[in-house]
Symmetry: C2
Amino acid sequence: MNATSTPASTLRIVAAVPADIPTIRSLIRELAAFERLLDQAQATEEQLHEGLFGSRPSCEVVIAKLGDEPVGFALFFHNFSTFVGKPGLYLEDLYVRQQYRGQGYGEALLRHLAGLAVERGCGRFEWSVLDWNQRAIDFYKSLGAQPMSEWTIFRVTGDALTNLGTKATDANS
Amino acid sequence: MNATSTPASTLRIVAAVPADIPTIRSLIRELAAFERLLDQAQATEEQLHEGLFGSRPSCEVVIAKLGDEPVGFALFFHNFSTFVGKPGLYLEDLYVRQQYRGQGYGEALLRHLAGLAVERGCGRFEWSVLDWNQRAIDFYKSLGAQPMSEWTIFRVTGDALTNLGTKATDANS
């Protein structure tokens, strides 16, 4: 908050607090617009508050700032490796605003999260990338990340999820 | 616990309690042995207790039982969709013991978890499958799951994670 002690040129990466929710929602919508998926970005401030600070938080956010200006954010959560017996850190979204790209802020966010993963005793740090995004893939490999190419994620959503879940009652009654 | 009210032929799917930890560890090691990866199954009872019931739980387990006999288990955790603004349910491991296969218990576990996902207001239910496991892929598709084929998971682990995390200090100092 003090412009003298935190010059605009110094990047700070800080854990989000409830007052950051409007900023986080703006950044998510900026990311969605950039991906031409703005119509899919339906999260409300209430939903983000519930996910981050509600009774059963399911994710965390760190915000990268230059002075008080938000430069980007990362949203992540923990998973768990049954074999290693340790939690992992999974990065769901990483975004650097267009005007701040190419200055190492994305890498700084990745390194910050890797540091959190080590600090919290995690056995792995993971994220997903689109297959055609060769520039990102090359960058991630340069950081020591390995593609888990033999695995495919399957997803059930919408009506299919409701149907699958509803029939659960029969299977257990 | 009452053999009269819960005949051996009725499958029950119950949330794990701390007393189940030795059973869960056995099932994980059985799964690892089946996959010829027993050397990689290093999780101790203490680690599983920490992950499931510690100060910062990172996963949950349900156990499928016939009477008091464990038939299989599923380990899962929550993730979060930034666009939808809702948590998701991610299934990390599903295992049915060899002698109990082909009787619909795996499907019952999947349906149970889909039910939990709906109950908890999740927008999606996900898991990963090995690309060569066509039988599993066909089965998942028949349940309404869609392959997220255009995404690849990247993973940083071991020394690469330590290196990436350690340099975080420099980037933020």
